[in-house]
């Protein structure tokens, strides 16, 4: 790789760099379109039809339909863009974040009340089991 990526050894974390941005370009631009109320309405009325208006990959479209944020991120989605999807759904950042951790929203909310996820064991791949 030509681009220096010192951040690839952080567990459970995708850094939105140029390579990810290129993969996710149309997915993210689709997300931006949801900043207009009329687009949100059209999207909600027929999600598949609305997605088909965008030159996204089929995997990206399916990940959106499934509201699978980890898959969207694997395919170049950035969380600040993806926020337009769950905001359109009337859901919170906490809801979306919980779905990405495999926890229920209640478990996740309780973890946050307990002080959040500890950095212990979460800094480097491999020490992941440390916690």
């Amino acid at each position: 790789m030509s681009l220096d990526k010192p951040y690839t050894n952080i567990p459970g974390t995708t850094i939105f760099d140029a390579d990810m941005a290129r993969i996710g370009y149309h997915l993210n631009q689709f997300c931006m379109s949801l900043m207009k109320a009329e687009n949100r309405e059209r999207f909600k009325a027929d999600e598949r039809a609305y997605l088909n208006e965008w030159p996204m990959t089929e995997e990206q479209k399916l990940a959106v339909l499934d509201r699978d944020y980890n898959r969207m991120m694997d395919q170049g989605g950035n969380i600040y863009f993806l926020a337009k999807i769950f905001s359109s759904d009337g859901l919170s950042f906490q809801h979306a974040a919980a779905t990405m951790t495999g926890m229920s929203q209640e478990e996740y909310a309780q973890m946050m009340l307990n002080g959040g996820r500890s950095p212990q064991g979460n800094r480097y791949l491999g020490e992941e089991k440390g916690k």
Partner: protein, 280 residues
């Protein structure tokens, strides 16, 4: 002459905006957080700044992937609250200060900062939540605001050091503006948080508390912290903290700490807040 009299740092979590907009500030979950801002609300009512240089990051609201400025300054007359997917926040239009903003742009470009000048943009929660925290729910914001937007969305953001130096350049620029203005600079975003992936929910209290200490009393050293440390230690969105260094760089080397506040959690995030005054 215009003068930077004080700096404010605060997180800008969207859920805080929602709590204010929906009248939930007295609920048990939120009350301790808003209590932490009581000092600042009274303080600023007395300070009466004329203009706030509000350093924040756009969260893919004004800037899509089509256009990603590292540093942008808003020179417009006004900025409307952005529709981030649930309709615009019910807050007043933000009034700019085109003359001072243009002066700042001219001055810092001549100090070798490659700013992008923006004359049309909506402002998202990154800018409006701090205003709500500090001013509550007025019919109109009580002062002018110059948005200074920093890219922390697309890697690489500017380094902490570059941000700190931009703060110093802004300070010089304000000092050379020939109108009597009480100017504050706010740094927003952070503290530790990660909104994405299996590591979402990361909170590093030790990191945050050290950051709060160093940005007050040892910003030179803090400004050399590399990007990777923020991301690894404070979460992928913890990188927003570099923006506080712009605020700090614009203040005197020594400042009076009027308030320090730290709280966990607000939704996914640790909340940090400082009120710093320039020593005479």
């Amino acid at each position: 002459m215009a003068k930077i009299t004080a700096g404010v740092a605060t997180s800008h979590v969207p859920a805080i905006g929602a709590a204010i907009d929906l009248g939930k500030t007295q609920e048990p979950y939120w009350a301790p957080l808003f209590e932490g801002y009581e000092f600042a609300k009274q303080w600023i009512a007395e300070e009466k700044p004329d203009v706030i240089l509000l350093v924040y990051n756009d969260h893919a609201s004004a800037f899509s992937m089509d256009f990603v400025p590292t540093f942008a300054i808003g020179c417009a007359e006004k900025f409307e609250p952005a529709d981030e997917g649930w309709g615009p926040r019910p807050v007043p239009t933000v009034e700019g200060h085109p003359r001072l903003a243009s002066h700042l742009a001219q001055s810092v470009i001549q100090q070798d900062f490659d700013l992008t000048i923006v004359n049309k943009m909506d402002v998202d929660h990154g800018l409006t939540v701090p205003l709500s925290l500090m001013f509550g729910q007025p019919d109109a914001w009580p002062c002018k605001v110059i948005p200074i937007a920093v890219n922390v969305v697309l890697f690489p953001p500017p380094s902490g050091r570059r941000c700190y130096e931009l703060g110093k350049a802004l300070r010089k620029a304000v000092d050379s503006f020939d109108e009597d203005l009480n100017v504050q600079i706010w740094g927003t975003g952070g503290m530790s948080h990660q909104l994405q992936g299996p590591r979402a929910g990361l909170i590093n209290q030790e990191f945050d508390k050290e950051f709060l200490e160093k940005i007050v009393n040892n910003p030179e050293e803090l400004s050399r912290k590399p990007h990777i440390d923020y991301v690894r230690e404070a979460g992928s969105e913890g990188i927003e903290l570099v923006m506080w260094l712009i605020m700090r760089g614009a203040l005197n080397p020594e400042v009076i700490e009027k308030k320090r506040f730290y709280h966990v959690p607000a939704s996914n995030t640790a909340v940090g807040h400082l009120v710093l005054e320039n020593k005479e």
